[in-house]
Structure formats: C-alpha cells, structure tokens
C-alpha cells in the first residue's frame, strides 16, 4: 500500500466518473495521433511523387513570346545545355480515335520511339518501333475501354490511318510533365508524317542526379533565353517542395485540432480531480493530522491524475493505431504508410501529450489539496 495504491483505489471508488475522464483522454490522443498520421501520409504521398518525377525538368515555349513550339534546332540547343542528361522532346494533340465502330476522343503524345522507354514504364506488350505503325495506350485508357475493345493488339484508327496497339503503359499517376494514363502514345515519326508537322510542344529533361536539377535548369535558361524569353523551365522538385511545405502546414493544422480535443479532455480531468479533492477534504484532514506531509498529499493526487492519463493514453495509443490504419486504407489507400517511423512517432507524441495534459490538469487540484489547513479539513463535513 503506497500513495500510488491509494490513488488507484480512489479512482476505482468513482469508476464511472474516472471512465468518462479516461474516455476524454482517449479521444484526445486518437485525435492528435490520427491527425498527425493523416498529415504525415499526405507528406509521404508527395514524397513518393518527388522520387517518381522529382528528377524531371520540363521546358515549355515561353508564354507571350513569339515561340509556340520548338524546332529541331532548338531541341538540339536544349540537348547541348542539358549535357549528359537525357532530353526527350515530344508533341501532343487531341484527336478522335476509333476502334471498330466506337469513336472517342483521346490525348495523343508523340515521342521519339527510342525515348519512350526512358519516360514511361510498360505493363504489357512492347514499345513501338520508330518505323512501324505501333502505338501504346495509357493504363486508365485501357481499363476504361474494355467495351470498345481498345486493348493490347487492337487496331486504332486515327484519321484514315490505322495503328496497332503494341503495348500498355504502367499506371503513372498525375505528373507535372505529361499525363499518359488516359492517353495514346505514338512514335514521333508517325505523328510527324500523319499531321505533317515537325515541331515539338515541350521538352522533358531527365536529370540523372537530383542534385543537378538547379544547374541543368540554369544552363537551359542561360542558353535559350539569351536575347529574349524563349523558354519557360519548370523543375518538378521546386514545385513539389512547395507542396511539401504545404503538407507540413496541413499536418500542424490537423494536429492543432487534435490538441484542442486533448485540452478539453484535460479540463475534464481537472474537473474530476477538483471533485475528488472537494469530496475528500475531511479525509485529507485525517491524513494530514496523522502525519502525512503536504508533498505526500500532493503526490497522491498527481498520481491519481497520472493514472487516468496513462490509462487513457495507452488505450488511445492502441486505438489510434487502429484508426490510423483505417484512415490510411480508406482515405489514402496506402495502409503501409502507418508503419512509417514518423507515423508511429505521432502516436507516441499523442500519448505523451495526453499524459502531460493529465498530469498538468492534476497539478492545481493536488496543490489545493496539499494546502488545506488540517484542522479546518478535519472539521469539514
């Protein structure tokens, strides 16, 4: 039997009240942890995107300049500026495609056949050859075209020419350069012949080392924009990093909401503890009169608040693992994000915050109990 034991017994004396206080802490911990996990997953999502497309520099014709497309010569200039990094020029258009009797419209990207494999991953089939009349289709386009029969091996008609689908691309998600998931990919030579065009709409530079992105960007700008603004260069890393910062702010904002609920829980513990002190004034008087020191009375009440906090934090921690998993699975679709060390840390953080809130809420009632005059407390009925 110690003060800890006394505290535990007193909690058991009012189990309903104590349970309610614990539930408050549980909700607070879950709120803080799951909000943190959610924010962290948003960050992780962007993180994955950075590694996917963060090595890309996209060169567009500058808006408002005379240039609307790049000539072969300009592409060569960009290649020189980009040094050893791979430069992929491409053109895009929007046209009607027909498979058998079914007609629909689709985005068409024209890429030099040899470069396609460096920009896009395939899921099935082969990459088209420069000389043939093959094409590839985006994964979503393939998935959405089950009825029309647009699939590997199918024949697609564009204008009066027929292309054969040689491959299906792997899903790529939203990118900052092109969105091939719903598009048709054709070799540039075919496009050039078919549309009688020999210019490119944009140039994608794949940078080997992400650290070189800045210098590649500067080199291209320096070379192309010497006299007048000819190109706009966008590097995806810079764009993603600003998005990344936004994700951090979202995390903090979400956790702030969680923190508010935990503070409310703290107030409820304060309330429970004040009730506990008020009800036990006489008991405190007895304890003090038979030789319990102020610090010991204080300890007893802080233990009481701590027990509520620790129990609440423990239950909250376990439950926030569950809620976190559900949230990741339902909202983000990536339950494995939960096993990220930072996600786990948010649970630990939520639990710690819950315990600290409880202890802090117990301080004032405990101090008040310790300051009671033993004689007056003994007379209290």
């Amino acid at each position: 039997m110690t003060f800890l034991d006394l505290a535990r017994r007193n909690i058991g004396r009012h189990w309903l009240r104590s349970t309610l206080a614990v539930i408050g802490i549980v909700i607070g911990v879950i709120a803080i942890a799951s909000m943190g996990i959610l924010g962290n997953s948003i960050g992780l999502m962007f993180d994955d995107m950075i590694t996917d497309v963060g090595d890309t520099v996209v060169v567009y014709p500058a808006t408002g300049s005379g240039t609307t497309a790049f000539t072969e010569r300009q592409v060569t200039d960009i290649e020189r500026a980009a040094g050893a990094n791979r430069v992929i020029p491409l053109a895009s258009t929007f046209d009607t495609i027909s498979v058998g009797e079914a007609k629909s419209a689709a985005m068409i990207y024209a890429i030099p056949a040899g470069d396609i494999q460096f920009l896009l991953d395939k899921e099935a089939g082969t990459y088209p050859r420069d000389t043939g009349s093959g094409c590839m289709i985006g994964s979503r386009l393939a998935a959405n075209s089950k009825e029309t029969g647009l699939k590997l091996g199918a024949r697609v008609k564009i204008g009066d020419e027929t292309l054969r689908v040689t491959g299906v691309l792997a899903e790529r998600g939203m990118g900052f350069d092109i969105n091939p998931d719903y598009a048709l990919i054709v070799p540039y030579r075919w496009y050039s012949n078919h549309y009688d065009r020999d210019e490119y709409d944009m140039v994608i530079v794949k940078v080997r080392d992400v650290k070189d992105i800045e210098s590649v960007r500067e080199a291209i700008e320096g070379r192309m924009n010497r006299r007048e603004e000819v190109v706009n260069v966008m590097d995806t890393k810079a764009v993603l990093e600003s998005v990344f910062e936004a994700a951090d702010s979202i995390t903090i904002f979400l956790m702030g909401i969680g923190a508010i609920s935990l503070i409310v829980a703290g107030v409820s513990i304060l309330n429970v503890m004040m009730m506990s002190v008020t009800e036990r004034i006489k008991e405190i008087g007895v304890l003090r009169s038979i030789g319990t020191r102020r610090s010991e009375v204080m300890r007893m009440f802080i233990y009481e608040a701590l027990i509520l906090g620790v129990v609440g934090a423990a239950i909250g921690g376990v439950l926030s693992f569950g809620t976190g998993y559900l949230m990741m699975a339902v909202l983000v679709g990536r339950p494995d994000y939960l096993y990220n060390i930072k996600s786990i840390l948010y649970i630990v953080f939520g639990m710690t915050f819950g315990i600290i809130t409880s202890a802090a809420s117990g301080l004032y009632p405990a101090w008040k109990a310790a300051q009671l005059n033993p004689i007056q407390a003994l007379r209290h009925e």
Binding site: M1, V286, S289, G291, R294
Partner: protein, 222 residues
Amino acid sequence: MPVIRFDNVSKVYPLPAGDVVALADVDLDIEEGEFILVMGPSGSGKSTLLNIMGSLDVPTSGEVTIAGRQISRMTDDELTLMRRDHIGFVFQQFNLIPLLSVVENVEYPLILKGKKSGARERVAEILQAVGITESHFTHKPGELSGGQQQRVAIARALANDPAFLLCDEPTGNLDTKTGTAIMDLIARMNREEGKTVVVVTHDPRMTEYADRTIQLVDGRVV
C-alpha cells in the same frame, strides 16, 4: 522535565466581526505517563488546546514545548513529522480512511515512516491488543460498529509507538457501554504502555480515569 509545557500560550482567531480568543495565557505542564482530562463548556478552547498539543496548530503567542522541542519555530513539514512520530490522535468521529481495510488503516502510519519489514506483524499485534479479532482485519471501516472503529482508530494512533495519545471526545459517538470499554482501553494503554494521555470530554464520569482534570472556561484554565 514535563513532556508537554504550555508557557503563557494564547491563541487568537481573527474574524471579520472581531478577534476570537480561543486560549488566553495558558500555563500548563504535563508529565510523562500522566492521564489528563480536559473539560469545559463548548467554545471554551478545549479543541484548540488539544490541537496545539498535537502540533496541528501553533499558538499566536507564548511557547509550547513538546518532547523537548519548541513548536512555534517549526515548519509545516516538521510539525507533520512530529505528529507522525510522537503523537497519536483519537477522534470523536473515528476518522478511519474508508479506502483502506482495517489492517491497512493501522499500517498507514508505519508506511508513512517508511517501515516495510515486520509491519504487518506489528499491526496484527496492536489490533489484537485493542481487541480486534483477526476475522475483521480485512474489513473496510464502514463494515464495523462504532466501538470497533474506535478500537481500530486507537490501534492506528498507537502504530508508531507515540509518546502521547490525544483523544478528542473519544466516546462522544458511542453508547455508554461501548464508551466505557473504550475508556478502559485508553486507560490500559496509559497504565500498561506508559502512554501520556490527554482526553477532551464533556462527560463528567470520565474523571475517575484521570490523574488530573483541567477545567477550561473562556480559554482560561480555572
């Protein structure tokens, strides 16, 4: 050398309506092993006198010496340790801790003092000495009769082997027969264990137990 000495002790409670003098210039010596009865009408300062003897309260003026130590200069912690180690309180309302069983109530002062080994044996010994049978040890105070509760309270007061037993109307909440038994028990502790006993009471029948009776009227010894 008296074990409790009051030297010109006054206690004044300042109240908005005017100061209330609870004790006025009290001089008092209590020798070791004495059985003292403090009597007087309500509001005569009996409880204040007992509280100061028990180092629960300090005088406004004058000096109180308990077991050779002056209490007016003591800190709250020192007063608390004085209560813990040298004084046993017995209250009219028994004042056992409802959360604790009979055994734990008596053990509590020992634990405060940091005793671990042999504590239970000593508790059992004391409880048997005050007439509580072992079958009642694990009961909660609320399950016992008033007389049994007061016996447990006396056992608790004796747990740390104090020099003094200070009893504030120990029979006030008991019927005559039980009250007599409790007084017999307290008297036995005085006689056999050599405890110095101070009992505050209204009951004039108690005088037969006492070596000496102190009469208080309006805060003065008469």
